[in-house]
Subunit: 251 residues, 2 copies
């Protein structure tokens, strides 16, 4: 009996952004594993068992999924967005590397999804249209000093920047520091996009000049995109402006 | 008569990665505009006019699409991958900004797609599972000195790196220089992923230690992903290894 493990991205929230290959994997699954709100997006049906689990148990969840696949199940681990960007794919490979040798022969597939930064960028225009970097601002998994060094180097490189997990209720101070570092390192009024709950009915997109940004403008459901020094704004009548980064460094 | 302009991402090649919202936009389009090989992916049907155009005419193409939308057409501009990552969305906003004021009132939507780096990363494992940067290596649109400075800063920040357009037939020397800079700045044997024609029947994925990389391993259809210093390899029996970057900086 050959089981399979598929690590699939559900996109940021809208069903219209779930790729057909992810939908097909879900239609053939015997077991779906994931963080509670993501598993809640999967409709129940006969023959499918849902295994929702809490946040911060990624390693246990990965282990459980690998064990079920090894035993012959067709398991799908669901992530929001793309599973390879600050999500379950790395957690699975971490557990796989330290696990039993037979896991390495398992049929494992990673199916990409629309990650939050691309969905947020699309709603705002094209702020990631030139070179950019992507940073997880959570300091659960790395020291703050590493985050600060990366922010300063990213500003020096003049990357646009996309931030995941900008601000949690338990550690609200990191994003305040991020804004301080950016104001110091960038020294201009480049646009910052706050995209909350992108592609859901609760979506809110705001565009704020960097010096006017406040920590409380972000929470854990917010994707933050900071323009480069070249990022431009196009005002629109009665609507939020378009924000885009030109393709060329010099024109 | 209200026209619309939709800037849509077709993903890296497989139809199974085209999102339902992009498929719906194409089903309602009167006109599809884009680079020849991308427009060739769109099936013809009564009521739909295809407007394929050559490479390097992005501004003309954007202008044509805006004019048709202004005249009442339902226009879709297609990009490979995601339209916001080194693709048509920035070109449209550049042209929009300098065009007639009435264009700013047009109904414009950007629909994200699976960009090549996420599709390539998924095939290799999870190399972009921690902080990373995304750089267009083409020096058509920026001076080489900017690219080199960004490579050195990205190495110092210990980002994984995803490179688009690594090497063209007309300017093959840029990627050779890139490898020289990376070997000097990184000084280790971190894995480099060469992902050619991802998600198509011609797909080839190779994983090569940085010091063994050669410029001719990449062409314009290749996505190159360079690990960070923390990126790990998991050998597999009879298959290419998994490559992943752990979620934590220190464990």
């Amino acid at each position: 009996m050959n089981g399979t493990l598929t690590i699939a991205g559900l996109g940021p929230g809208a069903d219209a952004m779930v790729t057909p290959q992810v939908a097909a994997a879900l239609a053939q699954a015997t077991d779906v594993v994931g963080y509670i709100p993501y598993v809640a997006r999967i409709p129940t049906r006969p023959g499918l068992t849902l295994h929702p689990s809490d946040n911060r148990v990624e390693a246990d969840r990965a282990c459980h999924a690998l064990e079920m696949a090894q035993a012959g199940a067709r398991v799908v681990i669901v992530s929001s967005g793309d599973p390879g960007v600050f999500a379950m794919a790395s957690a699975v490979f971490e557990v796989l590397e330290s696990g039993p040798a037979e896991w390495r022969a398992l049929d494992i597939q990673v199916l990409p999804g629309i990650t939050a930064m691309l969905a947020a960028a699309a709603r705002a225009g094209a702020p990631l249209g030139h070179d950019f970097c992507t940073i997880n601002l959570s300091d659960n998994l790395k020291p703050w000093a590493v985050i600060e060094a990366r922010l300063r180097l990213a500003a020096e490189a003049d990357f646009a920047m996309a931030f995941y997990n900008p601000r949690s209720a338990s550690r609200p101070e990191g994003f305040a520091r991020t804004l301080e570092v950016l104001n110091e390192a960038c020294g201009d009024a480049r646009p910052v996009i706050f995209a909350r709950a992108v592609s859901t009915p609760a979506e809110v997109i705001s565009v704020i000049p960097l010096p006017e940004c406040r920590p409380e403008m972000a929470d854990m459901r917010t994707m933050v995109i900071v323009g480069s020094s070249a990022t431009r704004i196009i005002a629109r009548p009665g609507r939020a402006p378009w924000v885009y980064t030109p393709r060329s460094v010099t024109r």
